[in-house]
Symmetry: none
DNA sequence: AATGAATGAGGATTCATTCAT
DNA sequence: GATGAATGAATCCTCATTCAT
C-alpha cells in the first residue's frame, strides 16, 4: 500500500479542475486556458501530467463512468428471491444513482453530456457502455423471471435498455431542478409504481 | 401560395448535404470542406444561403426536431376515452416514431446526437424540447387519470419524462441494430406490457 | 505537355520565397511568419500548397540538390580519351558549378548549408548524396586509369571524395567573396595544376 | 597554478555529457532534458554552470575547435627545408587529425557538423575558422615556394583552402566507415600522391 | 449566381528557463 | 549545492469566412 505522493495529488487536482470546466462549458468550448485559469496554474503544467487536451477529457470522462458504474454495480443481479427484495434492491440502486448525481453534478454531467461529445470513437464507447448497462439490468429481469416473480413474457434485453432510458431521464432531471432531493423521491415513487404495476388502473 | 423557386431548392439541397455529413461525422468533426465535397459545390455557395457553419447546423437540427415532433404530435392527448383506445394511440405513436427513425436515420441522428452537441445554448434548447415532450406525454397521462383508466397515484410529469427516456432509448437502439423492423416490434410489445401492466407477475 | 497553371506558379513563388528566407536565416531560425512576410501573403496560404514547414524546407533543399546535380551530371565519365580532353571536361564542370553558385547563391546555400541542417534524416541523405557524387567523380578517375592517362596507383574512391572536398571548399568560397568571378578563375587555375601535376616543383 | 576543484570537474562532466548528446542528436534536436538524462542530474544543475542551452553548445563546439586546432597547429609552417621534410610533416599532420577523429568522434562531429548549426553567428565564426586554417596551410605552401621545392605558379591561398576541403572530406569519411584505421591509410597514400605529383601519369 | 484561393484569428503544444525547497 | 516542478513565451497549424473573378 503506497501513500499517494505529491504528483498524484497534483494530477487529481488538475483532473478535478478540468472536469469542472468541461462539465460546465462542454469539451469543444473548453480550451486549455480555461482549465489553467480554473486551477490557477500555467498551461505547461497540464502537459506535465496529461498528454493533451483529448487525454485530459478522456480521463475525466472515464473516471465519471467508473463512478456511475460503481453506484450501480454494487448489487448482484441474482440475490433477490422475491418481488419485495427486488423492489428494495431497485430502490437502493435508484437512490444511490440519484444521490450521486445530486452530490456530484460534475460527474453526472461528464457522464451524461460529455462522454459522447469528445469524438466518434468515444461516442461509440459510451453507447457500448449503455448497452452493457442494459445487459446488466436485463440480468435482474431474468433473475426475477427465473424465480417467478417477474412476468415471463417481456424481453429482458428490451426492458433492460428501456429502464436505462428511464434512469437517464431521471438523472438528467436531477441536474436541472432546484430541489433535487424532492424530485428524487417523486421519481422513485412514480417509477416504481410504473415498473411493477403499470399504469392501468 | 408561392411556388418554390430555384433558390429554395438549392437551399434544401445544401441543408440535406450538411445534414448527412453532420449526422455521419458529428458537428465538431464536420468542416465546410466536407459539406462542399458532399454537395459538389464551392465553399462560397453555403455563404449565399446560410450565415455560417453554426447557422447550417442549427437549421439542420431544427428541421430534424420538427420532423420528430410531427411524428409525435399528430395525436391529441384528450381523445382516448378508454384504456384500449389509449393503448392503440400509444402503439400508433411508437410505430410512427420508430418508422421515422428507421426510414430517416439522418434525421434521428441529428435529433438524438447532434441537437445537444453544437453548443451550450443549443443543448439547453434541446433539453427544453425534451421537457416540452414530457409535458405533452404527461397530458395523455392526465387524460387517462381524469377518465379513470390510468392510476391516479402516479405523477404525470414524472411519468411523462420517464416515458420520454424509454422512447429515446428505443430510438437510439433502432439506429444501432441491423434489423430495426424486428427490433421495433420486440420493443413495442415489451414496452406496452411494462407500461400498462408492470413487470410483477 | 501541359501548360503550368496558376497553382503551379503560386507554388513556385512560395518555394522561391521560402528558399530565400531559409538560405538567409537558416532552417531553424526561419518561421512561417518570416516566409509569409517575404512573399507578402498570409500564413494559411503556405498550408494550401505545402504540408508544413518541414515539407517546404525539404522541397526547397531537394530542388537545390537537383540543380547542383544537373550542373555536374551533364558530362558522361567515359567520354574523355586523353588527358587534354579530361582537363577540358573538368574545366567545364568547374565553371558550370561555380557559375551556378555565383548566379544563384540561394540554391548554393540551401545545398551546402541547409541540406544537412533540417534534421538527422536529411543530414544522412545529404551525406549519401555526397557519397554518390564521390562515386561519380571516381568513375572519371577510373576512365582515365583504364585509358592510361591517369596514375594507376591512386584509389579512385578516395580521389573522388577528396575532389568533392575541393569543390565544396571552392563553392563555399564563391559564396563569401566580393568578386566571385575573379575568385573562380584563380581557383580553376591553381586547382587544375594541383590536380594534374601536383605541388612538387 | 590552482588545483582543479570539484566545481571544475562537475563543469567538465556536464560539458562532456552535453557534447555527447549534441554530437549524437544535433543541436536543435537536443533539449535540456536529454542532457539531464545523459548526465543523471536535474535541469537546474546546468544553469549553475552554464548560462543557457546556447552557452553549453558554444562551449562544447569551441572546445572541439580547440582540439582540432591543436592537432593541426603543432607543426610550424617554416621548418620544412625540403620536399621530403614537408611530405613527412604533412603525413604527421594528417595522421594526427585522422587519429583524433577516430579516437574522439564526438569532438569531430561537433566540429564538422554542429559548429555551423547553432545559428548564423556561429556559422560565420566556423567559416572564419576554416579561412584561418586555410591561411595557415597557405603558409606551408609559401614556405615551400620560397625554398623552391613547391611550384611557384599556384596561388597559396587557393591551395590552402582546397587542401582544407580535402581534409574535411577525409575526416567526414572517417566518421562514416566501419574500419577507419584502414580508411585513414588509404586516404593518406592517395592524397599524398595527388598533392605532390598530381593525377597525370 | 457560383467559385475556391486567400486569409488570419484562434488554439494546441513545446521546451528553455526559473526558483522554492 | 542540487533539484525538478512550474511556467508562459513562442510557434506551428487549422479552418471558418471573405471576396475578387
Amino acid at each position: 500500500m503506497t501513500a499517494p505522493d505529491a504528483a498524484d495529488l497534483k494530477r487529481d487536482q488538475i483532473l478535478a479542475a478540468a472536469s469542472r470546466v468541461i462539465a460546465e462549458r462542454g469539451y469543444h468550448a473548453t480550451n486549455i486556458a480555461d482549465i489553467a485559469r480554473e486551477l490557477g496554474a500555467g498551461h505547461g503544467t497540464f502537459y506535465r501530467y496529461f498528454k493533451n487536451k483529448h487525454d485530459i477529457a478522456v480521463q475525466a470522462v472515464d473516471r465519471a463512468m467508473r463512478r456511475i458504474a460503481e453506484a450501480l454495480a454494487d448489487e448482484p443481479p441474482e440475490v433477490a428471491t422475491s418481488l419485495d427484495e427486488y423492489r428494495a434492491q431497485v430502490t437502493r440502486i435508484a437512490h444511490r444513482l440519484f444521490d450521486l448525481v445530486i452530490a456530484e453534478p460534475v460527474v453526472a454531467r461528464l457522464f451524461f453530456f460529455e462522454a459522447a461529445a469528445i469524438n466518434r470513437e468515444r461516442a461509440e464507447r459510451f453507447h457500448a457502455a449503455l448497452d452493457d448497462l442494459g445487459s446488466f439490468t436485463a440480468a435482474y429481469i431474468r433473475n426475477g423471471q427465473r424465480r417467478g416473480f417477474l412476468r415471463a413474457e417481456v424481453d429482458p434485453e428490451v426492458i433492460g435498455l428501456a429502464l436505462n432510458g428511464v434512469i437517464l431521464a431521471g438523472a438528467a432531471r436531477m441536474l436541472r431542478v432546484s430541489d433535487p432531493a424532492a424530485e428524487r423521491d417523486r421519481w422513485v415513487d412514480s417509477v416504481l409504481t410504473l415498473m411493477f404495476h403499470g399504469l392501468a388502473s
